[in-house]
Symmetry: C2
């Protein structure tokens, strides 16, 4: 059965690939699974039809027969559980890969989301200039710890896993900020992710969708819909 | 094999039960599993011996034979996968319960963490009084959506699951703020969680640990170690 995911009709980031459907597309590409995409306008996200699928009015969702899933991490995990190449077979290694998925979602992404909020939703506030360095420093604390753990390894724990997919996707959000440049091994780690054929296919497919449904979204939309962490 | 978890030697919140080992203790109690606890001082969290177990220098960790796990969500999931009562048997219902675990970690907790950061790390900043209502509003946006989805159900999706355990644990963090009082069905949901015998045992066991290792931690410690989201 071919699953259907939802994605934005227009890019909220000018085609940087940061909307979260990229993570799901990437997982599906790694697993070698075909999928269909249903595009949504920004207003449609908050309409009852979509809220019935996604209680927080975001993308992506994942529909497969009777199953309706929301939350990127859960969708990636669902795909990883059912297809090879994203979770190790060894039980302990599998549990550790899942730990990296949750670490991306609950430990590394929150300060990065906070930085995005400061930049997008508080950019016109009088405190923003003085406050931004504090928020950036909180991101650096996490990156320093992650960098120390990664060391000179290719991936976080043995072979590439769904944990790397999630962590690299989270780190990609701060690539434009330049903060990542202070951590060469993390920059190289992210570049290794971007170089994977499955990532390239996912990125290209998302971009093709946006290009097919121009014009680009107005910036005001981005601000409203980034509220709380999307894209 | 009896697992060993790590926990704070002293309560960072004056005994409110918010340190994240509560979530793991709760899962173990729901599963009917015995466990051992190794207590750590705040400075010990950042020492090499602990960083080898937990790259971000936090609690809890989970050791069971050769397996070393960090990240609360992953530990709760590991326990839930191996024991009944925390994940449904039906495959689709199981996937949805996991979606709620990730929703707690990646959608509901981040704005709540941001509120904690504003209160603890920016309480002396000139902008804090004007900024706090904005941050609280971001939390309310999420709670409103969660409240709409929960409706008058007891739990988020059928029987109590690890998804409820994680979501209730996240909501408990803002119980002292009073924000939850604006959403009576969420307050009742949290109260249902707190009334579960397994939660009560977990809370009591954590409090007994703290009481056995007085004196209470100085407030400065709380500020330093809350950086990035702990407890």
């Amino acid at each position: 059965m071919i699953p259907t995911i939802t994605a934005f009709e227009h890019s909220p980031d000018g085609g940087k690939g940061l909307a979260r459907d990229t993570r799901v597309r990437w997982a599906l590409e790694e697993a070698g699974r075909p999928y269909e995409v249903r595009l949504l306008s920004f207003p449609a996200l908050k309409e009852p039809a979509h809220l019935a699928l996604h209680p927080f009015g975001q993308i992506p969702t994942y529909e497969e027969g009777d199953l309706v899933l929301f939350e990127t991490g859960a969708i990636v995990f669902h795909i990883a559980e059912r297809h090879a190449r994203l979770l190790p077979e060894d039980a302990n290694a599998r549990a550790r890969a899942i730990a990296w998925m949750f670490a991306a979602a609950n430990t590394v992404e929150p300060p990065i989301l906070e930085l995005g909020t400061a930049r997008l939703l508080e950019h016109d506030k009088p405190w923003n200039k003085e406050r931004l360095p504090l928020v950036e420093e909180r991101v650096r604390v996490r990156l320093k710890q992650l960098s120390a753990r990664l060391g000179d390894a290719d991936w976080l724990d043995g072979a590439f896993s769904a944990g790397d997919l999630m962590m690299i996707s989270v780190l990609l959000r701060i690539k434009p900020s330049g903060i990542l440049d202070g951590f060469p091994n993390l920059s190289a780690y992210v570049a290794r992710g971007e170089a994977r054929p499955a990532y390239k296919r996912a990125y290209k497919a998302q971009l093709a969708t946006y290009n097919a449904s121009r014009p680009a979204a107005p910036v005001e939309r981005l601000h409203n819909d980034s509220h709380g962490g999307e894209p």
